[in-house]
Assembly symmetry: C2
Homo-oligomer: 367 residues x 2
């Protein structure tokens, strides 16, 4: 039995890990899970990349919340990414808080948590860490990389920065750059965290986090993951456990109660400094920037086939942004299929029951 | 010279002022301005109602910021609401912080600021206060009421609750109810304020406000006042005073710098508790609620003519909501004209240079 493979793995990769911003990490921890069996030629590996607040528990229950894996609708027996056929890898991103090196990690050079001494990272840095993991696992070229939202950004980045490492790229509800509105919402979240005195310049103890600020950040972000239509359908102006408004500041409305719950439960499973660093990485993300703003040129060296999926009611990374990527791939001569799926559930649609998305991904993987 | 008329007026109206939520204010201060001259029959009065963070300084400079009146593009010499022809009134809303009774006012019963002892108010309460002011000024029936956003909510409410008091109603970028998404954004703002330890349960001193929390609330709200398109046009991913990103948490991007400025400057002119109470009033707003959800029935008794204006890129109170109001007015047999104007500037479009809006309002007022 190869101890590199299985659930709840964590590997420390020694040696400098240089970052796009000029910083260097003295070593790199990567917490990950694998599902299924790597075949003899290592040709059946699929890397799943998680979104901003996701983690490596794509198809097994979360150690803190006990909830089922975050993408069991796509990954699992009988699903498009079936461990019976595929060797599935999912790692906590660089900068995360579930075991991979991040601001809450201890700096091995002085034995103290990084906190805000952690260097600012980028999406390409996250992907470079994923590639280190592939090296460790003995995987030269992935059969596919799949991700939604920031996971989709990583998938696109892998194809651009490491063109020999992946055959097929699935980017769902994703973008090739953060828009001004995307940056604005992230900045609100960061300011909410930094405004919390418990944040203490990032030097809070693990058991005394800036919970109030992080909860507000999550609430603001959560609205952007849902559509106006979806919120109206799910909550409308319905009241929470009462027949009439209280004429007070309780959570009279179901949507208020829901948002407060989202904020509070998030704090139990996520680190505030990780939130700062990962949102920053997303804001910095712009695949075309190093190519004089030409996204087509960014994709010039890619050897992958692409599958893009967007959702009609996603206003965070709207269809227009996926179309922009498709046009650039066309211009670069890269094979790409694209579908916009009807959904009232906004950006979060990719995490929900989406049989059409599953059919599209299954078709793309088996073609 | 009638001292009731002119700039920087403030009147204390004695006697109980009952509120929709069951509370009673022992007296009512209303801070207001008037422009122009009331004619002999008092038939040329126009009430302008301000939005969430607006004030009575519609056409004269703000005492704190020194900035020009907030709607000088519509109100002033040569503008559709010209004080040469019209007698223009604009009052700080009930619950506000510019002189009208609100949470920062002193409760005359004990000489202490209300703070969170202030009763929760509603938009109909705000409008009832406006009507008290009209009584004080000797105005029976307004020639018109005009408002954008929450001002438009007040304008519609006046027509529904006080049908004899207004002939023409102009509601711009408005709604007849707050949607789940509207409530959600307001709840984020309130939680940001309440999460600030300086808020102190609302009992902060005037010179020690919960500035950080209020700034975050403003930043989140401000994003909703602009469109994705407008933000992209205005800021895109352009950097602020630098050639490359800093790989840090400074305001690298112009949109971050802009938002931070919006948050900081807001704190200088607005009270955090007022923000809580006024957003709550807006969330509670639903004109149809008292009529079994029928907006047409809410308008059944109206004797007014209506003019509704929406903007294409306004996603806070989108065109669909204006259309819903128009359909209800049609069903109620009330004369209504409606126009959706092209604009990339989102909800805030009504406060910006909008010559088409001015033409529409001018035509409606003079018809």
């Amino acid at each position: 039995m190869d101890t590199r493979f299985g659930l709840e793995r964590c590997i420390t990769l020694p040696g400098d890990f240089p970052l796009a911003g000029g910083g260097v990490l003295p070593e790199l921890d990567i917490a990950y899970e694998t599902y299924g069996t790597l075949n003899a030629n290592a040709t059946n590996a699929i890397l799943v990349c998680h979104a901003l607040t996701g983690d490596q528990y794509v198809a097994s229950s979360h150690p803190t919340t006990g909830k089922a894996g975050w993408w069991t609708r796509l990954v699992g027996p009988g699903k498009p990414v079936d461990p019976e056929h595929w060797f599935v890898i999912c790692a906590n991103v660089l900068g995360g808080c579930m075991g991979s090196t991040g601001p809450s990690s201890v700096d091995p050079r002085d034995g103290l948590p990084f906190g805000m001494r952690f260097p600012v990272i980028t999406v390409p840095d996250m992907v470079a860490a994923q590639v280190r993991l592939l090296d460790h696992l003995g995987i030269g070229t992935l059969a596919a990389v799949i991700g939604g939202s920031m996971g989709g950004m990583q998938a696109l980045t892998l194809a651009v920065y490491h063109p020999t490492r992946v055959k097929k790229v699935v980017a769902i509800a994703a973008a090739a750059r953060h828009s001004a509105q995307n940056i604005a919402f992230h900045e609100v979240g960061r300011q909410a965290i930094m405004a919390d005195p418990m944040w203490a310049g990032g030097a809070y103890a693990a058991d005394k986090p800036p919970a109030a600020g992080l909860a507000v950040a999550r609430m603001a972000a959560h609205i952007t993951y849902l559509s106006e239509e979806g919120l109206t359908e799910k909550f409308g102006r319905r009241l929470q456990d009462r027949d009439a408004v209280s004429f007070g500041f309780d959570a009279d409305f179901q949507v208020e109660s829901y948002l407060r719950h989202q904020g509070l439960s998030f704090v139990e499973r996520f680190d505030a400094n990780s939130y700062l660093y990962i949102t920053r990485a997303m804001d910095y993300f712009d695949l075309a920037q190093a190519h004089d703003g030409s996204l087509a040129r960014a994709f010039a060296a890619t050897q992958s086939r692409f599958c893009l999926v967007s959702f009609t009611s996603d206003w965070l990374y709207p269809t227009a942004e996926s179309r922009r990527i498709v046009r650039a791939l066309n211009a670069a001569g890269a094979p790409v299929s694209f579908v916009e799926l009807e959904s009232p559930f906004g950006h979060d649609a990719f995490l929900l029951d989406a049989p059409e998305m599953n059919r599209v991904i299954n078709g793309f993987l088996t073609a």
